[in-house]
């Protein structure tokens, strides 16, 4: 079975209650839609307090490249355009909507029948994806239309579809692959047409045999789409690791996957692309896993963007008594939330409720020079060395040892027997080095 070869760890996959059907979350309270929900230049709101909005109406506009927009998830009145806390408790611009009635934009089609014919041209597809606010749903939220516009120095050969879901606990991509396989495959064909490539490979880890079998069977009718089972290993869902696992090519340091002829999209994004292109639906809804060792019935929910996180936790039987930490995302790369009055955003793949005894860090001890972090690093870095360099403010050394290649997967910290905060320092050093490089490239005088 294929996999990437350098580094990686094997955390227990903990896919709790993975076969539970997805549930549609009904919520009627006020929605809070963050204005910028993508990676790139911030957006600007184009609605005002008191405006009536229809479902699917765009609420923001781009200010610069690369940008993406958000749409109203429900019809109703704009209560306020103000600030709301994000996952770090920093105030960011947000739009509050009080739902009323059920009006929708005329172009949206709610017809559930599968539409296989792709009528749009590649340029129209990219334009549609941009207008419908599609971003990468794997977690990074990078605008999809930017990824589909191949730069001049690259040529797309392969479309790689990420159904790996290597993070423990997460089951939303799995559920989507079982529930919407036909839509995903049409989505893949749309993306293939937009990129004008004739080969697509879907990578799925071996702990999801049902999804592999189902997609293989369905993909047999589609030309150029193959489904590849991958050996379980974290972080296989990271772009560069997936390129290595599926095509055997290595992305050079400082380059993007497109420079090896690969474009990677998540299965969630493929589904959103299908909805946008075939049904003209903007991205206002996504599948979110609510899980945790103490959660009564872990499962997936179809949630409208802007629903408060607390409504999700309520729907899953409420917050267990001994909850010590609520994480947005998986346990390896997710971010702990300061409170539950936060809205669901496009990038929220899961809510993980950890009990008190699993929620805390252990005291850091001295480095014992065991080299486990070096073995675990999938990018071939030396985390122990970079950790020391960052602490001693040796940013030149960090740059020379390619700290900017760090993908922040957390393998080093996970594997460290002394519980040292390796990921923390590497992130800090990476941001500082990136800043130094930016300053160097933009002379002030």
């Amino acid at each position: 079975m294929k996999t990437f070869h350098k580094g990686g760890v094997h955390p227990n996959d903990n896919k709790l209650n993975a076969d539970a059907p997805a549930q549609v979350l009904t919520y009627n309270g006020p929605f809070c839609i963050m204005v910028s929900q993508h990676l790139g230049a911030p957006s600007r709101p184009i609605v005002q307090k008191g405006d009536q909005v229809k479902r699917g109406q765009p609420l923001t506009e781009n200010t610069a490249f690369p940008g993406s927009v958000v749409h109203a998830p429900v019809s109703g009145t704009v209560q306020n355009v103000t600030e709301a806390p994000d996952t770090g408790n920093f105030a960011r611009p947000a739009i509050f909507i009080q739902p009323e009635g059920d009006e929708k934009e005329d172009f949206i089609s709610d017809d559930p029948t599968l539409e296989r014919e792709i009528s749009l041209s590649p340029q129209e597809i990219i334009e549609r994806i941009k207008d419908m606010g599609i971003v990468g749903l794997g977690g990074a939220c990078f605008p999809t239309h930017v990824k589909l516009s191949v730069p001049k120095d690259g040529k797309a050969e392969y479309l790689l579809i990420n159904g790996v879901e290597c993070e423990p606990y997460l089951i939303d991509d799995y559920r989507l692959m079982l529930d919407k396989p036909d839509e995903i495959l049409v989505g893949i064909r749309i993306l293939m047409k937009a990129l004008s490539v004739d080969k697509a490979i879907v990578g799925i880890e071996a702990n999801k045999p049902k999804a592999i079998a189902l997609l293989r069977q369905k993909a047999a009718d589609c030309d150029g789409i193959t489904v590849e089972a991958l050996r379980m290993k974290y972080p296989q869902g990271a772009e560069k690791q997936l390129v290595k696992a599926l095509t055997g090519r290595e992305v050079p340091s400082g380059k993007l996957p497109i420079h090896t002829g690969c474009v990677i999209q998540n299965v969630g994004t493929c589904f959103a692309v299908y909805e946008a292109v075939q049904k003209h639906k903007p991205l206002t809804e996504r599948l979110v896993t609510v899980t945790g060792p103490c959660v009564e019935s872990p499962r997936n929910f179809w949630v409208k963007i802007g629903t408060p996180v607390s409504a999700l936790v309520e729907a899953c039987g409420g917050r267990p008594e001994n909850t010590g930490k609520v994480i947005a995302g998986g346990p390896m790369m997710g971010k702990a939330l300061p409170h539950l009055d936060l809205p669901v955003t496009k990038g929220l793949s899961a809510l993980l409720l950890l009990p008190e005894e699993q929620a805390h860090r252990r005291t850091a001890e001295h480095c014992i020079r065991c080299g486990k972090c070096v073995e675990a690093c999938p990018m071939g870095l030396e985390p122990y060395l970079l950790h020391a360099a960052v602490r001693n403010k040796r940013m030149d050394l960090c740059e020379r040892h390619h700290i900017t290649d760090c993908i922040e997967c957390g393998c080093c910290q996970y594997t460290c027997p002394s519980f040292r905060p390796l990921l923390d320092t590497l992130r800090l050093g990476k941001s500082k080095v990136n800043q130094i490089i930016r300053n160097r490239n933009t002379p002030t005088r």
Binding site: P338, D424, L428
Partner: protein
């Protein structure tokens, strides 16, 4: 005789060639330097103690000539006035400064809503979250400033969770102010005899939100600006700021502040003249 003549001529010839080569090289690779640097360096104590935060007196002289706002803490006032005159500066812009911490949140005045367990670094914590009390402008209490100080002048008070400045050893080098990711630390005139008066808060949040985070937050009510007899206080972005170059230490603002956000340091005992 000829042997002697040859020896003398050979030596003189070698010397001449070497001199020409050396002269040519010296002219070609000559380093242009501001002549004022040497003049200023002569006036400085020359002890190279590093108290100013620079590598030595000549380094300080260079920084001063280039327009750096630095002070030699060792110079007497007269010596310093002479240096200032040489550079065409007013002697008062060279008054000794000291850092002040413009946050009183910490453990006593604000309520902790979340717990941070990550790497002990303010710069890192700032990239992750607003702070344990939810204030995105306040002190994170992880001590980047204390680690930046080369003179062990700043220390974290375990009771308040805020940094404290030891006036006696501070050299006003400004490393702490640069290390703070939120710009809470500011260098102000030391005023050893009158003490310092400053707004001990850095929040630009609106009053209602600021009060949720902290008991002693500046709410931008503007009372202090109204009572200030010299107009040294201005309120911008919901935050009052006292201009230390104009403050006359009348302490009227300290008494009217409803949130007790204005800090007035006790005048330290005058040091014995040496």
């Amino acid at each position: 005789m000829t042997t002697l003549l040859y020896a003398v001529l050979l030596l003189a010839g070698t010397g001449l060639i070497a001199a020409v080569v050396l002269y040519a090289i010296a002219t070609k690779f000559k380093v242009e330097e501001d002549p004022r640097i040497d003049l200023v360096a002569e006036r400085l104590p020359g002890a190279n103690c590093g108290a100013c935060g620079k590598a030595g007196c000549r380094d300080l002289a260079k920084a001063l000539v280039e327009g750096g706002d630095l002070v030699c803490p060792v110079c007497s006032n007269e010596e310093w006035a002479a240096v200032a005159e040489m550079l065409g500066l007013h002697a008062d812009t060279c008054e000794i400064k000291i850092p002040v911490v413009r946050c009183q949140g910490g453990r006593l005045n604000s309520i902790r809503q979340t717990t941070y367990e990550g790497f002990e670094s303010c710069a890192y914590a700032h990239s992750l979250h607003a702070g344990e009390n939810g204030c995105r402008y306040g002190c994170l209490g992880l001590g980047d400033c204390t680690r930046a100080c080369s003179f062990n002048c700043l220390s974290m008070n375990p009771e308040t969770g805020l940094p404290e400045v030891n006036e006696a050893v501070c050299t006003a080098c400004g490393a702490c102010a640069q290390a703070c990711p939120r710009g809470i630390i500011e260098l102000r005139y030391k005023h050893a005899h009158e003490g310092r008066i400053y707004v001990g808060c850095h929040t630009e949040d609106k009053g209602a939100l600021a009060m949720k985070h902290c008991l002693s937050a500046c709410i931008g009510c503007g009372k202090c600006a109204k009572v200030c007899p010299v107009g040294a206080i201005k309120v911008e972005n919901n935050l009052a700021y006292i201009d230390f170059t104009r403050c006359t230490h009348c302490r009227t603002c300290v008494d009217v502040c409803p949130k007790h956000a204005i800090v007035s340091t006790r005048p330290s005992d005058p040091e014995p003249a040496n």
